[in-house]
Amino acid sequence: MTPQPGGTAPILELVDVGKSFGDLRVIERVSLAVPSGQALGVVGPNGAGKSTLLNVIAGQERASRGSVHLDGADVTRRSPDERCRLGIGRSYQIPRPFTHLTVFENALVAAQYGGRLRGKAAQAAALDALAVAGLLPASNVPSGQLPLLGRKRMEMARALATQPRLLLLDEIAGGLTEAEADELVGTISSLKRTGINIIWIEHVVKALVQVVDRLVCLASGVLIKDGAPDEVLKSEEVLRVYLGSELE
């Protein structure tokens, strides 16, 4: 991708990033620059290394090689909590609620720590994030009692409450009905308009392409295609890794 005019640093840049677990190489030499303002979609078959890539960006896994840069600053050696405070918010594919806390408290703790807000400002930010995710009515429900859809929404609300500059979404549309998916697309599109940079991993490609400006396809830890969404989805390489089934 060509850098944005004005020469500002990309919001996220991966330079030659690799991740291995012992002899198992999950990600091999991925280089990727996401200019500020661009929403990036990530597709790829199961086991392609998508979630690992997201972990390497957010810091839950440390890159075995290469470097990760947020807004021009090298964060490769930074801990996940530092990266969060620097502006990376993430959701988990399998929700990880703080089960004994209410939905509001989940968002509040994110606003207080990740967002570095105090008092009323933190409370307001938490409420805003819940409103965006459509969770305000459930504020006082212990998050452990939320059904799956609610937990998925809370993943997003909590990530938003950390006041991210870069929001990483990991398969939040899976299992939604068409109407729910449409609502989610609307929500994420409006987040994008407020200036939050988004990287979204998703199997539900139909939802994904309505939001993202650019799509990359990851297969066996390698970026095999990078470009405009429709172009990537039609490409031979991508159809081949999906065996022509999943994207139809």
Binding site: P80, D81, F98, Q112, L130, A138, N140, V141, Q145
Partner: protein
């Protein structure tokens, strides 16, 4: 930078409530109780107040273990290490001319300082390994203490300089036990109502996710580990002063204290402030009335533990609180005037 877009439901109309009124009321009542208990030695004989001192250190210990396990998810089986150090700390400072009561306070502070490097060792381990690791650390502490000839070298020893008058001595000891308990409970409550309390519970519920929302996980855990060590050390010092010394290092450093703490917290209700107090009272009463029944006492304790875990899995207080929505000491947040929940969300608030 805010994340507001155009929410369907407005966040602006929502008020956040911390139950300040009820918290103040509970704190007020606690203060009244504290004053009444502090005045007790003037009205009640030393036999009874000395017995209450027993309860006070049990409450302290249970609360400290609950802080670790119930709020920070650290299942320690090694708090007896800090209890023992606190008890022996009394000798160290008393021998240098400090009165035993002040020695107890100094010992607690010194043990807190010792807990800091120890936490780096213990935090390398997780879950069950952490539990065993803390036990080993406690054992190492005992082994080190018994090397010192001046500390009785494994045979125990007595406090050399204490208040001569037995009535005064018992009153001072009672006030120390009461003060330690009051500080432990108050500090615990303040911590849990603070921002850090929310972080702690997040760590307990899901450590990786706590890191992902920006919480410095190790730092928060360390704070609690040190606070709990200090509280246990203070309780250990109380135990030492109550019996004018340590009879057996094996006893004060014994894993039995961990068993008592776990028993009281599980019986009372883990992860609540009130639970450990209830559990400590139950243990105190069982010990007082059946403690001399030999082996049947332990059979009975085991039976109580089994029955409570089977039929009251949240503990006595936990069960009462969730059944009647009780909370004497609220720590959470509640939003008011939210619209009615719709469809897929559970409407009822089941939180204790």
């Amino acid at each position: 930078m805010t994340t507001t877009t155009q929410p369907q439901t407005t966040a602006g109309s929502v008020r956040v409530d911390r139950d300040r009124g009820r918290a103040m009321l509970a704190v007020g009542l606690a203060l009244v109780a504290l004053v009444a208990l502090a005045a007790a030695p003037y009205f009640i004989g030393p036999g009874i107040t000395t017995d209450w001192g027993n309860l006070f250190y049990l409450v302290t210990l249970a609360s400290m273990w609950n802080l670790l396990a119930g709020y920070a998810g650290m299942l320690s089986v090694g708090q007896q290490g800090f209890i023992g150090l606190g008890a022996y700390g009394v000798f160290v400072f008393n021998d240098r001319g400090v009165n035993p009561y002040l020695s107890a306070v100094i010992a607690a502070a010194v043990v807190a300082a010792i807990a800091f490097p120890v936490s780096y060792l213990a935090f390398r381990l997780r879950g069950g390994y952490f539990a065993i690791g803390t036990w080993v650390i406690a054992e190492v502490m005992r082994q080190i203490i018994v090397r010192f000839e001046s500390l009785g070298a494994g045979k125990g020893r007595t406090i050399s300089a204490y208040t001569e008058d037995p009535i005064l001595r018992k009153a001072y000891t009672y006030w120390l036990a009461l003060g330690v308990m009051a500080v432990a409970l108050a500090a615990g409550y303040a911590l849990l109502r603070s921002r850090t309390g929310l972080a702690l519970q997040s760590i307990r519920d899901n450590e990786p996710a706590a890191g992902a929302v920006g919480i410095r996980v190790s730092r928060v855990k360390r704070l609690v580990f040190i606070a709990s060590a200090a509280g246990c050390a203070a309780a250990g010092a109380v135990i030492c002063i109550r019996s004018l010394g340590v009879a057996q290092p094996n006893e004060i450093f014994g894993v039995g204290y961990s068993a008592i703490m776990i028993f009281a917290v599980v019986i009372g209700g883990i992860g609540t402030i009130e639970g450990p107090v209830v559990g400590a009272v139950v243990y105190y009463l069982l010990d007082k009335y059946f403690g001399q029944s030999g082996v049947w006492y332990f059979v009975g304790l085991g039976l109580v533990a089994i029955l409570v875990t089977l039929f009251l899995p949240k503990g006595i207080w936990g069960e009462l609180a969730s059944r009647w929505h009780l909370s004497l000491l609220p720590v959470g947040y509640r939003t008011r005037s939210t619209p009615h929940p719709t469809g897929w969300l559970t409407a009822r608030d089941h939180r204790p």
